[in-house]
């Protein structure tokens, strides 16, 4: 049941996009989100679309895999399109039948909104497709660190995220093992109504919680015996370093965003 689960979408490749610094990639994504909201013509979207295609090619990701990421959101996209096409009025009447009519403004706004959603989702998933969760965690820590002086525990936050990331595969395996052990004793996790099924998970949950908290306890002990005392002055094995390509990428995106959002 819990086998063959892939966590996250990260696909490891040796590419230019992958090798960009995680901090820069997060900033770039934020700039792109802002820019996509300022664009108000299809020409602008067209330029961003070309840019998206170039980025996907540079990232060496399988294009179909990237497109497939849209599947869960397809319903929302189609719904947005239909609502606009049928309900937004104004402009030329393109087609009408009894009380239903399709007018040009509706079609225009519908496709405009859908294009925006499409580009937003593609650019943001490009970030998670090309950056591993651990690097993203480090990036978030760096970006939040100026807020430390206002009492935001940025280092603690990223430490907890890192611990969680480390524990996920271990606990998945453990959950699988406990489920099999309980099934061998006759446990049934699949039948019954919602509440019965939830209750049937208790023989899995209790050992799983005990094991998770025991592991956490051991980890805390190990950290403290190695003199862990929070983020202040902590050094790391892999320091994040900016390369000149990071700044070039950021520069290109800033220029592009400023130019295109004025279209």
């Amino acid at each position: 049941m819990l086998k063959d689960i892939t966590i996250g979408q990260y696909i490891a490749r040796d590419s230019l996009v992958h090798s960009l610094d995680a901090r820069i990639k997060i900033i770039i994504t934020a700039v792109l989100i802002a820019a996509l909201f300022m664009v108000d013509s299809f020409t602008g979207f067209g330029i961003f679309f070309l840019f998206l295609m170039v980025s996907i090619l540079l990232s060496k990701l399988p294009v179909m895999r990237v497109i497939k990421g849209l599947k869960p959101i397809l319903f929302l996209i189609l719904l947005t399109l239909f609502i606009h096409v049928f309900l937004t009025g104004g402009g030329e009447v393109l087609w009408s039948w009894k009380f239903i009519s399709i007018e040009s403004n509706g079609v225009y706004t519908g496709f405009f909104m859908v294009t925006r959603i499409f580009l937003l989702i593609m650019f943001t998933s490009l970030l998670t497709l090309t950056t591993s969760p651990l690097k993203l965690t480090d990036g978030i820590e760096y970006i939040l660190s100026p807020l430390k002086r206002f009492g935001v525990p940025a280092s603690e936050l990223s430490m907890m995220m890192t611990i969680a990331l480390r524990f996920i595969p271990t606990l998945l395996e453990e959950a699988d093992k406990i489920m099999k052990a309980q099934m061998a004793r006759g446990a049934d996790f699949e039948s019954g109504n919602l509440i019965e099924r939830a209750k049937s998970l208790v023989p899995l949950l209790v050992p799983l919680f005990i094991s998770a908290f025991r592991r956490a306890d051991e980890l805390a002990l190990a950290m403290e015996s190695r003199c862990y005392r929070g983020g202040e002055g902590r050094t790391r094995l892999h320091e994040m370093k900016y390369h000149y390509t990071d700044f070039i990428a950021l520069f290109i995106i800033l220029c592009l965003s400023v130019l295109v959002s004025n279209f």
Partner: protein, 176 residues
């Protein structure tokens, strides 16, 4: 070091969030248009009961950020906050309730805590839906009703199921 977090608390929050991710894979029920019932709220609630509302909200934040990294659908900057970190942070408010009387867990007190935290999460999801539709759909649609029906349809069963399980698990863990 920030006095708010001891190393032990941090390790437990990390493990609890990892558990929430694992439990999220065990779907009890899937809705046709996205949304599903799972026990992902359970570990965050247990941290909230164990270490208080601050730690509970922090584990919600960590969980939300991880979900964001595992592949989020970002269609609006406000929706990003309202769909990922914020609803799970709301679960931490369960820690504001005292759930014991004379050192024994009271089912009714847990009920109010889980209900309040769950409804706050639902409220944030409903607001997020309203914000999405007010920026992408034409004006004049009854977005509040649509968003409440959509989000309530999987969150209300989730709250009920989580309450039943949180009660059993807390009582069993207490004995060990």
């Amino acid at each position: 070091m920030d006095k708010k977090f001891t190393t032990r608390m941090m390790a437990e929050i990390g493990a609890a969030v990892a558990l929430a991710v694992v439990l999220n894979f065990l779907k009890l029920w899937r809705m046709p248009q996205g949304g599903s019932v799972s026990l992902e709220m359970l570990p965050i609630l247990i941290i909230a009961f164990r270490w208080g509302a601050g730690a509970g909200m922090f584990s919600g934040l960590v969980y939300g950020l991880l979900q964001l990294m595992f592949g989020a659908y970002i269609i609006h900057p406000v929706q990003l906050i309202m769909d990922y970190p914020l609803p799970y942070m709301m679960l931490g408010t369960a820690g504001l309730f005292s759930i014991r009387e004379n050192d024994t867990i009271k089912p009714l007190k847990i009920f109010w805590a889980v209900l309040a935290a769950g409804l706050l999460r639902l409220l944030v999801h409903i607001l997020s839906g309203v914000i999405f539709f007010s920026s992408y759909a034409p004006k004049g649609q009854n977005v509040w009703v649509y968003s409440a029906v959509y989000n309530g349809s999987f969150l209300i069963p989730t709250i009920i199921v989580t309450y039943v399980v949180v009660l059993i698990v807390m009582k069993t863990l207490e004995k060990k």
